[in-house]
Symmetry: C2
Subunit: 134 residues, 2 copies
């Protein structure tokens, strides 16, 4: 029988057995991305020190960087007061977390006034995605 580590008990997974995880650059504080984890991916993340998520589209473990090489080394793992959001402070290999080839997935900023606002793309593409995912 496999026994779950007791620290997993503090975590409230949702109805699908998942919890959102924020990846934040450990040095700069930049928020890189948000993805999902299940108990297995979280346990592997903590055991190996590399971010492993659960891909909701592919329905399998997603070892971040497995295709792109853009792995995330986890420096710190935090849990919020309700136990339903994780925060990973990471070192982002290659400086690119987003599948669009940008550092961060949060590259759109809402500009203008409320009635007439637009999403402005503020961050540059650092590497062509076609070169990242060959």
């Amino acid at each position: 029988m496999t026994q779950d580590p007791i620290w997993l008990d503090a975590i409230t997974f949702d109805g699908n057995g998942l919890i959102p995880a924020i990846a934040q650059d450990a040095d700069t504080g930049t928020i890189l991305m948000v993805a999902w984890m299940n108990a297995e991916s979280l346990a592997e993340t903590f055991a190996t020190g590399r971010a492993v998520y659960w891909s909701r589209s592919r329905l399998r473990l997603w070892r971040k960087g497995e295709e792109s090489g853009h792995v995330q080394t986890v420096h710190e793992l935090r849990l919020d007061c309700d136990g339903d959001v994780l925060l990973l402070k990471v070192k982002q290999e290659g400086g690119i977390a987003c599948h669009t080839g940008r550092e961060s997935c949060f590259f759109r900023r809402l500009d203008g006034d409320a009635g007439n606002a637009v999403w402005t793309i503020t961050d540059p593409v650092l590497k062509d995605p076609e070169l990242i995912y060959k």
Copy 2:
């Protein structure tokens, strides 16, 4: 007829009409909390420049700070590549975002090795919650 602003079209709300929103201190980069928004709370947030969430427990708009006084002034609003997570860069009035009286909800850090880890409370209570919520 009320027409939704076109910038809302870029957002993918979940099956309950909600999207998670990360509040990050605009100056320090500290991640303060994660809460949920619906279209109405997001539109009010952008229109007023103050963070308004949707309370999933109380099933109503939650104007952050309405009881505690700990309002969040929104400096920037960002959206991720998938359009399903928001990032708010805020100024946190009172320096306390968490209902426990701490600056951040992410006050627990996972320490130890994988087989024998514990959640360590790393952040001090800045104000007794009983004095915050009178």
